[in-house]
C-alpha cells in the first residue's frame, strides 16, 4: 500500500547561521494494507518529520514515497492534493481550523472533500462524535474553544470520517482518558480490518501493543 525507499531529508536554515540539520537518510520500509506500523525512537529522531513527508507537508531531498501509484516526493502539488482528498488521512497533534466554524462542519468536511454527500457526511460525523464522547451541546460551537483533549478527539474524528486507505496518526491518544483511548483503539482496529495501512506514533506502550503489528525504529535512519 505504501512504500518508502531511500528517503533523505535535511533542513537548511538560511536565517540561522546557514545551519544544515540532517533529519533522515536511507529510510526504507513498506506498509501493507490492513497493517499498523508504529514509528519508534527517541524524541527528535524524525518520527513526525517522516510522517509529514508521507503527507507531503515536508519535502524530501531524495528517495521515494509510493502510495497507490503516486510518488509523493516528485508529485505535483495537485497530485498531492488529490491524494489527501481521498487516500491519505492525517491526524496531527494539533487541530488547525478556521475560527467560528461549528465542530460538526469541521469534522464532516473531509468526507465532503472526498466526494461524499453532505447529509451522509454529517451522519457519520455525528456517530463518531458520539463514540468519542464529544457532548452534543458542543457540536454547533467552534472546536477552538474546546479543551486540549476535546480538540484532539475532534482531530481524530476528522481523520476517520472518510475511510482513507492510508492513515497517519501522530500521537492520537496523547491527552485522552482511558475510555476515550479505548474508543480510539477500536477505531484503529476497525480501520485495519477494512484494509487501511496505518502508520502511527504512539508513546503510550499500551496503545502501541494493542494496535501495532510491528515497529520501525526511526533513529536507525538517523541523518547524523
Amino acid at each position: 500500500m505504501l512504500s518508502v525507499s531511500n528517503l533523505e531529508k535535511s533542513f537548511h536554515l538560511h536565517q540561522q547561521n546557514n545551519a544544515h540539520i540532517p533529519v533522515l537518510s536511507g529510510a526504507q520500509f513498506d506498509v501493507a494494507a490492513g497493517e499498523c506500523v508504529a514509528l519508534t525512537g527517541p524524541s527528535g529522531c524524525g518520527k513526525s518529520s517522516l510522517m509529514r513527508m508521507i503527507y507531503g507537508n515536508y519535502r524530501a531531498d531524495s528517495g521515494s514515497i509510493r502510495i497507490s501509484g503516486t510518488d509523493v516526493v516528485t508529485a505535483t502539488p495537485r497530485e498531492v492534493m488529490a491524494l489527501r482528498r481521498g487516500t491519505i488521512g492525517y491526524v496531527s497533534q494539533f487541530l488547525r481550523v478556521l475560527p467560528r466554524v461549528p465542530t460538526l462542519r469541521v469534522v464532516a468536511e473531509p468526507y465532503i472533500l472526498a466526494g461524499g454527500n453532505e447529509a451522509e457526511a454529517e451522519e457519520i460525523a455525528r456517530e463518531l462524535l458520539l463514540r468519542l464522547r464529544i457532548p452534543k451541546t458542543l457540536w454547533q460551537l467552534s472546536p477552538l474553544t474546546f479543551s486540549g483533549g476535546e480538540q484532539q478527539r475532534v482531530n481524530i474524528v476528522r481523520g476517520f470520517v472518510h475511510p482513507y486507505p492510508v492513515l497517519l496518526l501522530d500521537e492520537p491518544t496523547a491527552s485522552l482518558d482511558a475510555a476515550n483511548r479505548d474508543s480510539v483503539l477500536d477505531l484503529i482496529v476497525e480501520a485495519k480490518q477494512r484494509g487501511a495501512a496505518v502508520i502511527g506514533i504512539f508513546h503510550d506502550a499500551i496503545v502501541r501493543d494493542a494496535v501495532a503489528d510491528r515497529e520501525i525504529d526511526v533513529s536507525l535512519f538517523g541523518g547524523n
Binding site: Q15, N57, R96
Partner: protein, 256 residues
C-alpha cells in the same frame, strides 16, 4: 480537469524599477492560489496586470472562456476585456470603497452587475440581491441603505456579494481581509471558503497575511523584488520553506 488560467512570462517594469518579472503559473477551477510577499514585492502589480488594470510589458495571460476557447487577455481589445470583467471575472479590492459605488444602495450595488449582463427584470434583480445579502450575512432590511452607512466588515461582504452575484469563474482578491478586525476576518474567510467550494470558482488572492493563505489557499507563490522565489502546496511552503526569503517571512510571522 484542465487550467482556466495560464500565465506565461508576465513582466512589468516601471522605468528601471521591476514590478514583476517573468511570472509563470496556472490555476484550475475551484483552486485558490495565494500570492504573498512584503509591500513592494510586486504582488499587487502582478494582480493588476493579470486583471488588466495595468498594462503588462510582455508575456501572456490565457483564459479559457465558457465555450472552451483559450484567449490571451493581454491582446484582447478593451471592450472585450471590460465585458470579461463584468461577467467571468471579478475583482475584490482591499478597500471596499474602491469596489463599491458608495452613492447607491446596497441592493443597487448588487443589481448593477446583474444589469450589466443584461438582467432587466426589477423584481428578479431585487430578489437576487436580497438572497445575496443573506448569503453574506447582511440583514436584507438594509437593502435600500447606502454602503456608506455600513461598517467596514459589512462593506467588504457587500463587495464580495456584488462580485459573486454574476457567478464569475475567476476572482482576483487584493488583501480582502486587510482592513478588517480579526473577528470579522475569520467570518469573511469562512464565507469565502464556503462560496469557493460551493461555486467552484478559481481565486487568486494577494495578501501579506500568512494565516489567510494557510486557511484559504491550496497553493501559494512567494514574491520578492518582482520575482517568484518559491511556490508549491500552501502548507508545505509554510511549514517547510526552502528559500531564504520564505524562511525569513515565515519565521517573522507572529504566532498566536
Amino acid at each position: 480537469m484542465t487550467d482556466i488560467l495560464r500565465v506565461n512570462g508576465l513582466s512589468k517594469s516601471y522605468g528601471n524599477q521591476i514590478g514583476c518579472a517573468d511570472v509563470c503559473f496556472d490555476v484550475y477551477p475551484g483552486e485558490v492560489l495565494g500570492i504573498v510577499g512584503e509591500s513592494g514585492s510586486g504582488k499587487t502589480t502582478l494582480l493588476r496586470c493579470l486583471a488588466g488594470h495595468l498594462e503588462a510589458d510582455s508575456g501572456s495571460v490565457e483564459f479559457v472562456l465558457r465555450d472552451g476557447v483559450r484567449r490571451d487577455t493581454l491582446t484582447m481589445d478593451e471592450a472585450e476585456r471590460r465585458q470579461l470583467g463584468r461577467t467571468d471575472w471579478a475583482f475584490v479590492h482591499q478597500n471596499p470603497r474602491d469596489g463599491l459605488r458608495m452613492a447607491i444602495s446596497a441592493g443597487g450595488n448588487i443589481g448593477e452587475r446583474l444589469m450589466a449582463i443584461g438582467d432587466r427584470h426589477y423584481g428578479n434583480i431585487r430578489a437576487t440581491a436580497t438572497s445575496w445579502l443573506e448569503r453574506v450575512e447582511i440583514d436584507p432590511a438594509r437593502i435600500d441603505d447606502r454602503p456608506s452607512t455600513f461598517s467596514g466588515g459589512m462593506q467588504q461582504r457587500l463587495q464580495i456579494a456584488r462580485n459573486l452575484v454574476t457567478a464569475p469563474r475567476l476572482v482576483f482578491m487584493d488583501e480582502p481581509t486587510g482592513g478588517l478586525d480579526v473577528s470579522v476576518q475569520a467570518r469573511l474567510l469562512d464565507l469565502l471558503r464556503g462560496l469557493v467550494a460551493e461555486l467552484g470558482i478559481a481565486v487568486i488572492i494577494v495578501t501579506h497575511d500568512l494565516a489567510v493563505v494557510r486557511m484559504l489557499a491550496d497553493r501559494m507563490m512567494v514574491m520578492r523584488r518582482g520575482q517568484v522565489v518559491e511556490s508549491g502546496l500552501a502548507d508545505q511552503v509554510l511549514d517547510d520553506p526552502s528559500h531564504e526569503y520564505t524562511q525569513l517571512l515565515v519565521s517573522s510571522a507572529l504566532q498566536v
